[in-house]
């Protein structure tokens, strides 16, 4: 158990405002120190207190400590050791801590509400510990339950949510089937406009070539940046173009690109963005 004097410098002064995350964490740490070693949750927070002492009290340190507390609390809840929305109250047993706190009470409560805080000045000296610490612990509520523990819901609400989840799943399945059907339809239309050689290329290589005058283009399966001007000398892409209609399946995009290139190359090059 760390000594109280080592903890005090990193504890903040609190007001009645909602605390920012780091301040929340500091509150957790303070509670951790207050928790007795005879209660399991206290063990966790004691570890964290030690960690906080051994490391500079940066936002990252505090955040990691907060995560540790929250995860461990979650484990305890899932193991049935502590109950959500209930308070753990016990007296401290550590001698050093007794001197410092002197009959203080530690409270770790799970509440769906925001953290409410005490008004004690935590930078107070050891001489004022009893009053300050008691005041602090009596009023401080940790918000871990909101993070980890789903609020209790009625059977009716649970059924409603399950029905909603099922409907969502069904909707996703339906949309996926529609999307696949659209792709098949678009591919059929594309194939109906390709030569035998282009069809073979598309099937084997996922792209096809076409000539517009002397220019050789490659249209790759895709929606954007999938049209390339090919250098005849080395058969490598010379320029990449991005141009497409919106909200149509891939096959339709490729067909639209082919048709515009073949029938109005000038317009194609005017509208397309050339990436390189």
């Amino acid at each position: 158990m760390p000594s109280a004097t080592a903890i005090l410098p990193i504890l903040p002064s609190f007001t009645d405002e909602i605390m920012p995350p780091v301040a929340n964490l500091q509150g957790i740490e303070r509670m951790a120190v207050a928790a007795p070693s005879s209660v399991e949750p206290a063990l966790i927070v004691n570890e964290i207190a030690e960690e906080l002492i051994s490391e500079p009290a940066t936002g990252e340190t505090l955040y990691r400590a907060q995560l540790k507390v929250v995860r461990r609390m979650h484990e305890l809840i899932s193991q049935g050791i502590i109950m959500p929305n209930s308070a753990i109250t016990s007296t401290t047993s550590d001698v050093t801590w007794q001197i410092w706190v002197n009959n203080s009470i530690s409270t770790v409560a799970f509440s769906p509400s925001h953290i409410s805080m005490g008004t004690g000045n935590v930078t107070a000296s050891c001489g004022t510990t009893t009053i300050v610490w008691n005041d602090w612990n009596e009023q401080y509520v940790i918000n871990a339950g909101q993070i980890l523990v789903p609020p209790k819901v009625s059977e009716e609400e649970r059924a409603r949510r399950e029905a909603q989840a099922r409907a969502y799943q069904e909707e996703m399945v339906r949309k996926d089937a529609e999307r696949r059907a659209a792709e098949i339809k678009a591919d059929a239309l594309l194939h109906s406009c390709l030569s035998a050689e282009q069809k073979e290329e598309l099937t084997k290589k996922n792209h096809f070539h076409l000539y517009v005058g002397k220019n050789k283009y490659r249209i790759e399966r895709g929606i954007s940046g999938n049209v390339k001007l090919i250098n005849e000398n080395d058969d490598r892409p010379k320029h990449q173009y991005c141009i497409h209609p919106v909200d149509v399946p891939v096959g339709d995009v490729m067909l639209a690109q082919k048709l515009l290139l073949e029938t109005n190359e000038e317009e194609f090059l005017r509208v397309a963005n050339r990436h390189w």
């Binding site: 678009a186 909200d247 149509v248 048709l259």
Partner: protein, 92 residues
């Protein structure tokens, strides 16, 4: 994408010999509007659809079955056997 084709759900969906059609690209794949050039009602319906979509910046292409180069068109011609209409192209 709303192509304004909902009202034409009662139209024919099978292309028969001598028919013409336009394939209109959309999010669910293409929708076909079929007409027979000897059927004034079907021609009129196709023309109206064509003009509606071009006014929404669609691009229209006359294509051939043999995959030879098509042609971009801006006016409806009922004698064209096969057209493909694409939503406006944008640079990405």
């Amino acid at each position: 994408m709303n192509t304004g084709l909902e009202r034409k759900k009662t139209m024919r969906t099978e292309v028969e010999t001598g028919d013409s059609f336009m394939a209109i690209m959309g999010s669910a794949g293409d929708t076909k509007i079929i007409w027979n050039k000897d059927n004034p009602a079907e021609v009129e319906n196709a023309r109206r659809t064509f003009n509606d979509l071009l006014s929404k910046s669609y691009l229209a292409f006359k294509v051939k079955d043999d995959s030879k180069e098509g042609e971009q068109i801006r006016e409806f011609d009922p004698s064209i056997e096969r057209m493909i209409l694409s939503p406006q192209m944008r640079g990405g």
